[in-house]
């Protein structure tokens, strides 16, 4: 059933997000071209400068707008589809609350990451001056796999270390995305348990959760630094030590994110399961 929910969810959100990503891509590509070849044209047609400035501004605005849209669609979809009138249909489907939440989570994450990926890729491309480089040259700009391996061996970093680092980095990014979505979901899910002032209560819960987590993070951070002070502030004499410290920090961040995510998820699910109160 999750597959069917995902299919429907992509269909519903794609109506908004595909055009948004399309316009974003077009704007950023256009801005790229302007940055790359604008000078030559401006030297001949002075007035083009105004147009180009507008294009670049539009691209910047587009980037912000697309990020905002990804969040707005995520929030609005949950609100309208699960807590509004459409909820009468969604909550009477033969699916579990978990299926409903995960389908929304996964699809929102895909759109948020897709938006960031488009921005990142096109942003990177605009920095690298493609006109001067061939593909081969780009590749030689990076160290070869052989060189990386040699460097790692010299520092005593195993292949495992590297993969774990990459994996953890990915997990942290994923978790932060999940928590962003779940923060909104939990706030709305709890806020809608009330018969009146649902939106106001959602906002109260959003702020409340924020406050709770800041306090929790502060306390946990302080405590863990207290207990691990010697290890934490140990002078990193070697790269390996530095790496270990980095991983320790990442692990605790990941752990804390997972705890936050779990709390938010349970709050969302309980709100929908036990406290559902469609108007």
């Amino acid at each position: 059933m999750l597959g069917k929910l995902l299919k429907h969810e992509f269909r519903a959100t794609g109506r908004t997000m595909l055009p948004v990503l399309g316009v974003l891509t077009a704007l950023v590509v256009l801005a790229n071209l302007v940055v790359r070849f604008g000078d030559q044209i401006i030297s001949r047609y002075r007035l083009a400068a105004v147009l180009f400035a507008l294009i670049v501004a539009a691209a910047v605005f587009g980037v912000i707008a697309a990020e905002v849209m990804a969040i707005v669609v995520m929030v609005q979809r949950f609100y309208k589809n699960l807590l509004g009138d459409e909820g009468y249909l969604m909550h009477t489907l033969p699916v579990s609350v978990h299926g409903l939440i995960w389908s929304k989570l996964i699809v929102s994450l895909v759109w948020i990451f897709a938006t960031n990926l488009v921005i990142f890729l096109l942003g990177t491309l605009s920095v690298v001056n493609l006109g001067d480089l061939s593909v081969g040259q780009i590749m030689t700009g990076f160290p070869s796999a052989e060189e990386i391996r040699e460097a790692m061996a010299k520092l005593g970093i195993t292949r495992m270390d590297l993969w774990l680092l990459i994996l953890e980095a990915i997990l942290i990014v994923l978790c932060s995305g999940l928590i962003t979505c779940l923060h909104f979901y939990a706030a709305m899910s709890l806020g809608h348990m009330f018969t009146q002032n649902k939106i106001l209560m959602s906002i109260v819960f959003f702020v409340g959760i924020n406050f709770l987590f800041s306090a929790m993070g502060g306390i946990l951070g302080t405590v863990s630094i207290q207990f691990n002070a010697d290890r934490f502030f140990m002078e990193s004499s070697t790269v390996l030590d530095g790496l270990r410290q980095l991983r320790m920090m990442m692990n605790s961040m990941l752990g804390y994110s997972l705890v936050q995510g779990l709390i938010l998820y349970i709050a969302t699910a309980l709100g929908l399961q036990k406290g559902l109160n469609l108007a």
Binding site: R11, N81, D85, E86, L89, H91, T92, P94, S96
Partner: protein
């Protein structure tokens, strides 16, 4: 086995007792009218049966099981408000229903849609209020469900549509399934009902076959209702 059974069912909203110790059994093959004035608890009862609310006390069993994904697969529910996403067209909605409900009968739906000259490409947004309600009813009645829970299916529709809706209910009658129709417009539905349940202030006042009321009281259910609920 009863298709729907409520035992000591109560629901509170803060200080408001919406349902108070409801005991109710509905057998397959019955068309039951859930009758009561506005605010008597009809919608709350149907929402509870659909798992859209959680009971404060007591329990609900649908074909022996508590409301959950399994019972939702056999319950076809028509809420008392427009609930279809308005960007979807009729074809997409049928896909949606067919995807999630194994008992959705597309042929039946197409047949009813053709009868009402509703086009598959038409989106909900483009439809009049009456047409939207018909599409909702068609989707709900095109399922071969074990229990149909229809909340005010004839509230605020024109007489022709009302007749069509009641016709649809009779046409799709299945001796293995029960239909519960909540309404306060009794005279309009009386003839299609087997049984009626009177509900007031969240309490069941009476559950009786229609003809038993007519026989015993010498008046229609509508007249009897007016007498019982006289202000």
């Amino acid at each position: 086995m009863a298709i729907l059974e409520c035992k000591g069912l109560s629901k509170r909203f803060g200080s408001v007792q919406a349902l108070d110790n409801v005991n109710l059994t509905i057998e397959p093959g019955r068309v039951v009218g859930l009758l009561g004035p506005n605010g008597s608890g009809k919608t709350t009862l149907l929402k509870l049966c659909n798992g859209l609310l959680t009971p404060s006390a007591g329990e609900i069993l649908i074909a022996g099981a508590k409301p959950g994904p399994e019972t939702k697969a056999v319950v076809s529910y028509l809420p008392d408000k427009p609930y279809l996403a308005d960007w979807m067209n009729v074809g997409q909605l049928m896909d949606f229903f067919a995807d999630f409900y194994g008992d959705f009968d597309r042929e039946r739906a197409l047949d009813m849609l053709a009868h009402l000259n509703i086009n598959e490409q038409q989106s909900i947004k483009q439809m009049s209020k009456g047409t939207r309600e018909k599409v909702q009813l068609i989707l709900v009645m095109s399922r071969k469900a074990g229990l149909y829970l229809l909340d005010e299916p004839i509230g605020g529709v024109d007489p022709a549509t009302r007749d069509y809706i009641l016709d649809t209910i009779i046409r799709n009658y299945n001796p293995a399934a029960a239909v519960v129709i909540s309404t306060h417009l009794i005279a309009d539905v009386e003839q299609v009902l087997d049984e009626v349940v009177f509900i007031r202030n969240g309490q069941i006042m009476l559950q009786s076959p229609v003809d038993a009321i007519r026989e015993d009281k010498g008046m229609s259910v509508d007249q009897y209702f007016r007498e019982v609920f006289k202000c």
